[in-house]
Structures are given as structure tokens and as C-alpha cells.
């Protein structure tokens, strides 16, 4: 994950209080590693290794951001998302996984996660991604940007039911392409002669379309989630 821009790498930027982060992963080793890496940037307020444990503890602790593993026994990250989304809309979820199969990524975003990074991400980049999710933005790694471009590719045989949701605008497509090429928001803004705020708006719109669209490819990816 190299997409995080330098201007977001300062964890002590906008908020005086430290972000409260909750870890959900069935690998204790990985949880310990993340906890150690993130300790300087955020406050890790809890951990869980199963879906049931995660649901009860997150409800009790009320963190800002939950780092969520995709592949866990008894339903994985999706099960946690589906259990928590309605009751705790203020909790933001960032998916973290070793898998980068398109159906996993798209499926999780559609279930409500606001971003997706792989476990090989550097600690600084992970902290920046958490910050961005907490601020209500989306986190599109280059790989996720590529999957989205693929999913929204203009296929002649794909009927468009709702142009508002089922198609990307040219601008959104350009932003995604630059994300996939490894550009930071600031660089994208410079390249397209728009403000960083506008870039963020485009990315948020793409995330919304990704979650709401009924496009065949998206539904298929969401439905076909392979459990490995």
C-alpha cells in the first residue's frame, strides 16, 4: 500500500485526542504486531478474535475505528459488519486482509466498510488510513481502485438500471485511475486542477456508488464471496 500521501502521515495533525481503535483478527500474532506498530499513533482500546466476541466488545467499548479481518471462522468481517452497522452507525470500519481477491474486497465494501488495505501496509500508512476513515473519508488502495474500475468497466452486455448509481463519471474514473497509479490526493488535485476537497468528494461518491449500485458485476462479486 503506497498510496498514502505525505501530508497525511502526520498522525498528530487535526485532532487533539487520540483515535480509539479496535482490532478484530483471529491471529493473535498479527493483533500484537498491529498493536505495537500503532501504539505511537492511536489508542488501541480492545481486541477480539471471533465474530461474537467482536460484536459484544465493540458495542461495549464504542471505538472510533474498527480494523476488521476479512477471513475469520464463523462468517468473517462481513458478519461483524452486518451485526454492527444498523445499531452503531458511528463506528467506522476499515478492512484489513491478506486476501486480495476482488470478490472479498468488493463484498466487504458493499457490506459497509469504508476502505480496504492489505496487511503488508506500513505502520505509518495504516495510521494515516485509520485517520482518514475516522474523518469520514474513504480509503482506496491502488488495488481497490483497480477492482472498482474493473467492476464499472463499460461492458456492452451490462444493462444500466440506474445511471446515477451504476456508472462512474469521467472525473471519478480519472481520480480512480490516478489512485491506481499510486498518486496521493494532493498529486491528484494538482494533476486534475481541482482542490483536495473535490478529490475527497469524488472518492466518497465512488464509495457510495460501490455500496449502492445494483450492477451485475458488483452483485455477483458480493454474492460469490469465496471462503478460503
Amino acid at each position: 500500500m503506497s498510496e498514502q500521501p505525505a501530508e497525511h502521515l502526520d498522525p498528530a495533525n487535526t485532532r487533539p485526542e487520540r483515535l480509539r481503535v479496535f482490532l478484530v483478527d483471529d491471529h493473535a500474532m498479527f493483533r500484537a504486531g498491529v498493536r505495537a506498530e500503532l501504539g505511537a499513533h492511536v489508542e488501541v482500546v480492545g481486541e477480539a478474535s471471533t465474530v461474537a466476541e467482536a460484536v459484544t466488545r465493540i458495542a461495549a467499548v464504542g471505538p472510533d475505528v474498527v480494523l476488521l479481518d476479512v477471513h475469520m471462522p464463523d462468517g468473517g468481517g462481513r458478519a461483524v459488519l452486518e451485526a454492527m452497522r444498523r445499531s452503531h452507525p458511528q463506528v467506522k470500519f476499515l478492512a484489513l486482509s491478506v486476501s486480495d481477491a476482488a470478490e472479498d474486497v468488493i463484498g466487504l465494501i458493499r457490506a459497509g466498510a469504508r476502505g480496504y488495505v492489505t496487511k503488508t501496509i506500513s505502520p505509518d500508512e495504516l495510521a494515516a488510513a485509520i485517520r482518514r476513515v475516522a474523518d469520514g473519508d474513504a480509503v482506496f488502495s491502488p488495488r481497490l481502485a483497480g477492482f472498482v474500475l474493473d467492476a464499472f468497466a463499460a461492458r456492452p452486455d451490462a444493462p444500466v438500471a440506474d445511471p446515477e448509481l451504476d456508472q462512474l463519471t469521467n472525473r471519478e474514473r480519472e481520480v480512480l485511475r490516478l489512485l491506481a497509479r499510486g498518486y496521493a490526493y494532493k498529486e491528484i488535485a494538482k494533476e486534475l486542477f481541482i482542490s483536495i476537497k473535490t478529490v475527497e468528494t469524488h472518492v466518497s461518491n465512488v464509495l457510495r456508488k460501490l455500496q449502492m449500485s445494483n450492477r451485475y458485476e458488483l452483485s455477483r462479486w458480493a454474492a460469490d464471496r469465496r471462503l478460503v
Binding site: M1, S2, D100, A101, G146, D150, A153, E174, A180, R181
Partner: protein, 421 residues
């Protein structure tokens, strides 16, 4: 297991074969005699006696001939038998019928009985002997009524159904005929009764056989699923054993060498990921696979990470191959000169062009001063793209990192609009 027409449960070996070494006609009598442990003469006499029943002996003999295989190993005749072997029976049967019609003015009751028994025997025999021999052996070991096993045969189901229905019709006709012949009065009721009895009989057989059939079918299916699962497990085990364990051992031995450990872990992760999630495509055929392979080679050679994202795909040809080679060169340059651990590679296949972007956030350079004496950039990237009708742009500045953009138009109209401008 015997090869008699299946009218009873199966017995275990010794099996009934025709014995070619003592044969007069087809070795049927000799085979039966061997099988039953009585003298050949008695068997032949029995056939002669049965011949009195309007040629039933002859019919039975022909049926045995059709159904019972030659003893394997002492003949050049292949064990597989076909419908052609029923021809002698048909011929002889027709002959007997003609003789009967000529000698008596009509076919007698005994003759009819003989005929009907023969038809039943033939029907059952057809069903029986058309099933594949190795299957039959398998059912013979497990099923009380072996030829029922034919129902669950997976292959060639339609042909089988046709055979089975044909044989069943023969059997039914025979049974109905027997009922009709032996009913006292030749009135319509008798025929109806006969038909009803026959149907009841068949239904009974069906009811008895259904559970057995179903059980066998599900047994076979679960066996097959088990085999497939087993195969997958074996494949995974082989993969883990050949690669992952090997890599872990190497990592332990090179624990002090951070670069090597990173390279080993990265390479192993990539191959495992591909094995789990990606349909295998040949780098010689598909653009995306070729590009990913090039990225993997650079990763392994220079111990860096290449963030590869490919959108769309297409067949490769000479020009697309040149694009991949240029992209590879750009990756090598980034790995050599940028001084960073991560390089971004993005490729997109559109209807009118293929584009590749190689970006690093490393040292960067001033393109004007470097291009003169850097053969890699001038020849391997810019020149190569030009030769194949594409173009290359390099944007870089000291301290800003570098981006190499490769555009290859793939329609005849090479004036594809430049994107992102």
C-alpha cells in the same frame, strides 16, 4: 459372479464362461458343464430335450451364446461383446418359427411358451450384458441384483435408458404373454388381467429395487465428491510442502539477512496468492499475466515491492509484447535508481489503446541531462515504443520521483486522445 441371465440373485465366483477348448458350436454346453461340475454330455442332452419345446433348447443355447463371454486368456476374441452376437440367436429363432409354421399350421401352446420364455430371457440378457463389464463386476460385489446397478451408471445415460427401456419392454411383453397364454379363456378380461398382473409385478420390482438404487446412487455420488475433495487436499498439501515449508526453512537459515528474508517472503506470498485466487493464464498469451510476470521478476531480482494493478486484459501480440518489455525496463530503472522499496505499476486495457504507468516516489532525475547517456531509457523504453507505433513519456524531477507513461494504440487509428490531460 455368474453370467446367466439375471433371474435370481448373484452368486459369487466361479464365473460362467463359454469353454472354447471343448466346444462344438460355441462352447456353451461345455462352459455350463464346467461351471456346474457335471459332464458335457448331460448338458447337451438337456438342450436336446428342451429342443422338444418348440426349439426352446436352441433358443436358450443361442441366448447363452449371446450373453456368456468366452473364457478370457485363451482366445483372440476380445471380451467386449456387441449386439452382433445376438444375431445368431435371432436367425435361429426365426428359423425355428418358420419350421413350426410349416410343420404345424399354427404355433402351438408349447411353442408360444417357449417363445415367451425366450423373449424374457433375451430382454433380461440385453439389459444385463449391455452394461459395462467393470461396472458389473463392481455391482456384483455390492448389489443383490446386479443389473439394477446399471441405472446409476454415470456415463452415457441416454443410451443406457434406451437399452433399459428396450429390455424392459421385452420382459414385460414376455410376462404379459405368459399370463395371456395360460389364462383359461381367450377373452378380453383375461388379457386385461394379465396386463394388470404384469404391471403389478413390475411395480413390485420397482418398489423393492428403488431404495437399493437410490442408496447406490448416493453412495457413488458421495464417493466421487470424496475423491474430488481428497484430490484438492492432496494438491494443497503438495503446494505447501514443495513451496511454503521450503521457504520457511530458508527464512530461518537466512534470518540475519533482512533483504533475503523479505524477498523470500514476498515471492512465497505472491505464488501462494496466485495459487489461491487467480485463474492461471499463460504469460505468452495474455497481457496481464505477462506484465505480472515481469513485475515478479523485478521484485525478485531487486528485492523491492511492485504494487501491480491491471484493469482489463487482452491477447498478446508482438506490439503488446514490446509494451511489456518497455514496462519491465521502466521497473528495472525504478528499482535501480529510485532508492525506494515500493514501485507502483498500473496498466489499463481500453478498446483503442493499452497504457502502462510505472511510478516511484524516489530520487527522481532531470530527464534532459540524463537521457543522453542512459541507454535504458532512450533505447529500451522510448525507442522501443516508437518502433511499435506507441509512445513513451517520462516525467521526473529531482526529489519528486518518476513516472514513466507508456501508451500503445491498438486500433488502426493511432491518434488516440491522451488521457488525464
Amino acid at each position: 459372479m455368474t453370467r446367466e441371465p439375471p433371474i435370481s440373485t448373484v452368486t459369487t465366483p466361479p464365473r460362467l464362461y463359454r469353454a472354447p477348448e471343448h466346444r462344438m458350436a460355441a462352447g456353451v454346453a461345455a462352459g455350463i458343464a464346467d461351471h456346474l461340475g457335471i459332464s458335457v454330455l448331460r448338458v447337451r442332452v438337456a438342450f436336446m430335450v428342451l429342443l422338444g419345446l418348440s426349439g426352446l433348447g436352441l433358443l436358450l443355447y443361442a441366448a447363452f451364446w449371446a450373453v456368456v463371454p468366452l473364457r478370457p486368456g485363451d482366445t483372440a476374441v476380445p471380451p467386449r461383446r456387441d449386439v452382433g452376437q445376438l444375431l445368431p440367436f435371432v436367425g435361429i429363432g426365426l428359423g425355428v418359427l418358420l419350421i413350426q409354421v410349416m410343420v404345424f399350421d399354427s404355433v402351438g401352446a408349447a411353442g408360444t411358451a417357449g417363445w415367451l420364455v425366450a423373449i424374457i430371457a433375451v430382454g433380461a440378457g440385453v439389459i444385463w450384458h449391455q452394461s459395462a463389464p467393470e461396472r458389473r463386476r463392481q455391482w456384483g460385489d455390492t448389489m443383490p441384483v446386479p443389473w439394477l446397478g446399471a441405472v446409476v451408471e454415470e456415463s452415457d445415460r441416454r443410451a443406457f435408458v434406451l437399452r433399459f427401456i428396450g429390455g424392459g419392454v421385452l420382459v414385460a411383453v414376455g410376462i404379459i404373454g405368459v399370463a395371456a397364454v395360460y389364462s383359461p379363456a381367450q377373452n378380453f378380461d383375461a388379457v386385461i388381467n394379465g396386463v394388470i398382473f404384469a404391471l403389478v409385478g413390475l411395480a413390485g420390482v420397482g418398489v423393492v429395487a428403488a431404495p437399493v438404487l437410490w442408496r447406490t446412487y448416493s453412495q457413488l455420488r458421495s464417493e466421487r465428491e470424496g475423491r474430488i475433495r481428497e484430490q484438492e487436499r492432496a494438491e494443497l498439501a503438495a503446494m505447501v510442502h514443495d513451496q511454503v515449508l521450503h521457504t520457511l526453512a530458508l527464512i530461518q537459515r537466512n534470518a540475519s539477512d533482512v533483504k533475503t528474508v523479505q524477498r523470500l517472503a514476498r515471492g512465497q506470498e505472491r505464488s501462494l496468492r496466485n495459487w489461491l485466487y487467480k485463474p492461471t493464464a499463460s504469460p505468452n498469451e495474455r497481457f496481464a499475466a505477462a506484465l505480472e510476470q515481469a513485475a515478479a521478476e523485478v521484485e525478485d531480482t531487486f528485492a523491492i515491492t511492485v504494487e501491480t494493478v491491471v484493469v482489463g486484459d487482452r491477447e498478446t501480440d508482438e506490439r503488446v509484447g514490446a509494451l511489456v518489455a518497455a514496462a519491465r525496463e521502466a521497473l528495472v530503472n525504478a528499482a535501480r535508481h529510485a532508492g525506494v522499496q515500493t514501485v507502483s505499476l498500473y496498466a489499463e486495457v481500453e478498446p483503442d489503446q493499452v497504457s502502462v504507468f510505472v511510478r516511484d516516489r524516489g530520487a527522481g532525475f532531470d530527464p534532459d541531462t540524463v537521457e543522453d547517456h542512459r541507454h535504458g531509457v532512450r533505447g529500451s523504453i522510448i525507442g522501443r515504443m516508437k518502433r511499435h507505433g506507441g509512445r513513451a513519456e517520462i516525467r521526473s524531477g529531482p526529489g519528486e520521483g518518476t513516472e514513466v507513461r507508456l501508451i500503445l494504440p491498438i486500433s488502426r487509428d493511432s491518434s488516440a486522445a491522451e488521457r488525464n490531460k
